[in-house]
């Protein structure tokens, strides 16, 4: 295969940068990583052939600086840019700047990103294409100093009806989103959402949307090429969310009947065709209890949860992204895309689920990762890394595949038992509680699942806590085993990190 691409710059960090760099290596493409000063020695920075430091830790001074990234591409002679997800992935300005600089942007055209990026315009476009949208309304723009017209907000909200969601027009990932139960909270919520949106996406425009009761979040992966081919790669259900951010995703959705699956896939393809979609994209729907579904938004990039689709289809989405960006035809026909088995992804976050999911920070003192058949870990970290407040708290994604949903759940639970990260709080135990919950096992998932079932969850089952205490006592040297020669000696070496050889002890019967 001779591609017009030779060297790809990955304009991202963490696990997704690692994922894209791996795909490039496998395709024989040279790679360039960009890194903030805090990330000079990060996993993604070490994996690339070349690494360019583009600025201080805060994203606005590094990963969001279009000029710095284009400059890195120029200096290294890169001829293509993969944006990953987040950061500049859905910036039409970035895509256009890449194109203007003579670089291949691995993603859709700037106009497509712009059209889908403004959620309000996207809603209008989809409605015009005959795709059902959630009832909602736009808000008047805030004043120059960021203040909203309170009366107008209240009037628009009354028209949409409570409960409702305030959403960032240019948002995504739950940022700049607020659920509002009644009129009293709508002004504060809209202001906070606008503030968050401005900070995260550079634009504070927000809109209101009817809040559906206990809907499921089901999305369809689509893929188009420059020859006019569009295919869909099946759905992912991403209903398990905290703070409007997905934490568990799966495919197939336990909620879809074959008929519903077909209808939703057709709607997704219609949506993609309506905007002449090229490269990987996702059409998100809300599915209500009656089986009606509504267009929510289209993400014009690779999703965090793309491994779920890779597992069930057996295809490599990043490889296809690079091929399509290079002008090749899609490597698959629709009839070659046949889902198989069941896949589940769990997002491992640096956060405290028992304390409102507040982010945790610190140094990764120890890291043990699961492996084995049907287990995949996409990780952006290594032991010794410092997890800081600067970036999204996503540490790694565990994804599994099994012959059916029950087997996939069992596999994910076993793998989570084998994941150990010490030094930084994670949601690993919380993820186990989700997967192990009877309602999850039954497939009774909806976007309020966590509030309904796990709002009062606490970590640390008593038996585990007791055993952890005894282990700490052994570690501290309180208890020692008999040595091979019968003499007693301490179980813990002077420091847990000193000494190469393992300290082996008698004890097995």
């Amino acid at each position: 295969m001779t591609l017009p691409l030779r060297k790809v710059l990955v304009a991202n960090r963490g696990e997704i940068a690692v994922r894209v760099l791996r795909a490039c290596r496998e395709m024989g493409l040279a790679t360039v990583a960009v890194a903030s000063e805090a990330d000079r020695h990060a996993r993604h920075a070490r994996l690339a052939d070349e690494t360019v430091v583009i600025g201080p830790a805060p994203p606005l001074e590094s990963y969001l600086r279009i000029e710095a990234i284009l400059d890195a591409a120029r200096r290294t002679g890169a001829d293509a840019v993969h944006p990953g997800y987040g950061f500049l992935a859905e910036s039409a300005a970035f895509a256009a700047a890449c194109r203007d600089a003579g670089l291949v942007f691995v993603g859709p055209a700037p106009a497509t990103i712009r059209a889908m990026g403004e959620k309000t315009a996207a809603r209008r476009a989809m409605a015009a294409a005959g795709v059902p949208v959630v009832p909602g309304a736009e808000l008047p723009a805030p004043s120059a100093d960021g203040e909203l017209d309170a009366a107008a907000v209240r009037a628009t909200a009354a028209r949409v009806g409570y409960p409702l969601l305030v959403k960032a027009a240019f948002g995504g990932g739950g940022k700049g989103m607020r659920l509002v139960g009644d009129e009293r909270d709508v002004i504060g919520a809209a202001a906070a959402a606008a503030r968050e949106a401005r900070k995260a996406f550079g634009d504070g425009a927000v809109y209101l949307e009817r809040y559906l009761e206990r809907p499921r979040h089901v999305e369809v992966q689509v893929f188009g090429d420059t020859r006019g081919n569009v295919v869909q790669l099946g759905e992912r259900e991403c209903s398990i969310q905290r703070r409007h951010q997905k934490i568990v995703e799966e495919s197939p959705s336990p909620a879809l009947t074959p008929t519903l699956r077909t209808r939703m896939a057709e709607a997704a393809v219609a949506a993609a065709r309506a905007v002449g979609y090229v490269n990987a994209g996702t059409v998100e729907f809300l599915l209500d209890a009656s089986g009606e579904f509504y267009f929510l938004e289209m993400n014009t990039r690779l999703q965090v949860e793309h491994p779920v689709t890779e597992w069930v289809t057996g295809l490599d989405l990043v490889r296809a992204q690079l091929l399509v960006a290079a002008g090749e035809a899609l490597p698959w026909r629709q009839d070659e895309i046949v889902p198989r088995g069941h896949a589940i992804e769990c997002r491992l976050y640096a956060e405290e689920p028992a304390h409102g999911f507040r982010p945790s920070v610190g140094r990764v003192l120890l890291l043990a990762e699961p492996s084995g058949p049907g287990v995949r870990l996409d990780s952006g970290i290594v032991a010794g890394d410092e997890i800081t407040m600067h970036y999204d708290p996503l540490l790694a994604k565990l994804s599994v595949h099994g012959p059916d949903r029950a087997a996939a759940i069992a596999r994910a639970l076993t793998a989570l038992c084998d994941y150990a990260l010490l030094g930084v709080g994670t949601n690993a135990e919380y993820l186990q509680a989700i997967l192990d919950h009877p309602a999850f096992r039954q497939g009774a998932t909806h976007t309020g699942f966590i509030e309904e079932h796990l709002s009062d969850w606490k970590p640390g089952r008593p038996q585990d806590e007791d055993d952890a205490l005894v282990a700490a006592a052994v570690h501290a040297g309180l208890v020692g085993p008999k040595s091979e020669d019968g003499e007693s000696r301490t179980a813990a070496p002077p420091s847990p990190w000193s000494g190469l050889g393992r300290f082996r002890l008698r004890g097995l019967a």
């Binding site: 940022k175 503030r195 968050e196 900070k199 995260a200 409102g356 507040r358 982010p359 945790s360 920070v361 140094r363 003192l365 120890l366 043990a368 407040m389 600067h390 970036y391 999204d392 989570l416 038992c417 084998d418 150990a420 990260l421 010490l422 030094g423 709080g425 690993a428 135990e429 186990q432 970590p459 640390g460 585990d464 806590e465 007791d466 055993d467 952890a468 205490l469 005894v470 282990a471 700490a472 006592a473 052994v474 570690h475 501290a476 309180l478 208890v479 020692g480 085993p481 007693s488 179980a491 813990a492 420091s495 847990p496 990190w497 000193s498 000494g499 393992r502 300290f503 002890l505 004890g507």
Partner: protein
């Protein structure tokens, strides 16, 4: 030899009964067999249960992962002063590093448990910090726009059932 650890849920004590096989955990005997020990890893049999354990120390803190469940145990030193702050006393401190977005309260404000005190932004998320108890704001250390480190004082509250100024 006696060890005490604060688990966050309780203060647990561990005492050795038989150096190669039994400890008292809060007075209850637990049979301990060390199957294997390597840096950062222990394989134990505790009352017959096989346990795979990962461990790491940072000073007084011992991080332990038991079959996918993680605990941060504070080695208890008897220093009651620091205990009080850790338990969430009348001083409200930053639960994580971040930037103060907005401060809702001023000196002398009466607050209930749950009253929003300020908004802290960390990892691009806004977190609302609320009063842990009813009382009167006695000091405001937080300034909007300022960056704070974990543990930095934010607001001091004089509990409602204590005389102000104490």
């Amino acid at each position: 030899m006696l060890l005490q650890f604060n688990t966050g849920n309780r203060l647990a004590s561990l005492e050795v009964v038989q150096r190669d096989g039994c400890v008292l955990l809060d007075g209850r005997p637990v049979a301990v067999e060390v199957l294997d020990a390597a840096p950062g890893r222990l394989e134990l049999r505790l009352d017959g249960r096989r346990r795979r354990v990962w461990l790491a120390d940072t000073g007084a803190l011992t991080h332990v992962c038991v079959d996918g469940r993680t605990f941060s145990l504070v080695r208890h030193t008897g220093d009651e002063e620091s205990e009080d702050v850790a338990a969430g006393g009348p001083r409200v401190t930053a639960p994580l590093p971040g930037k103060i977005v907005k401060v809702h309260v001023q000196l002398g404000h009466a607050v209930e448990a749950g009253t929003p005190l300020l908004i802290l932004e960390a990892m691009k998320m806004e977190t609302e910090i609320v009063a842990p108890l009813a009382g009167v704001v006695q000091a405001v250390h937080a300034i909007a726009g300022a960056t704070v480190a974990m543990g930095d004082p934010l607001v001091d509250i004089a509990p409602a059932d204590a005389p102000p100024g104490v």
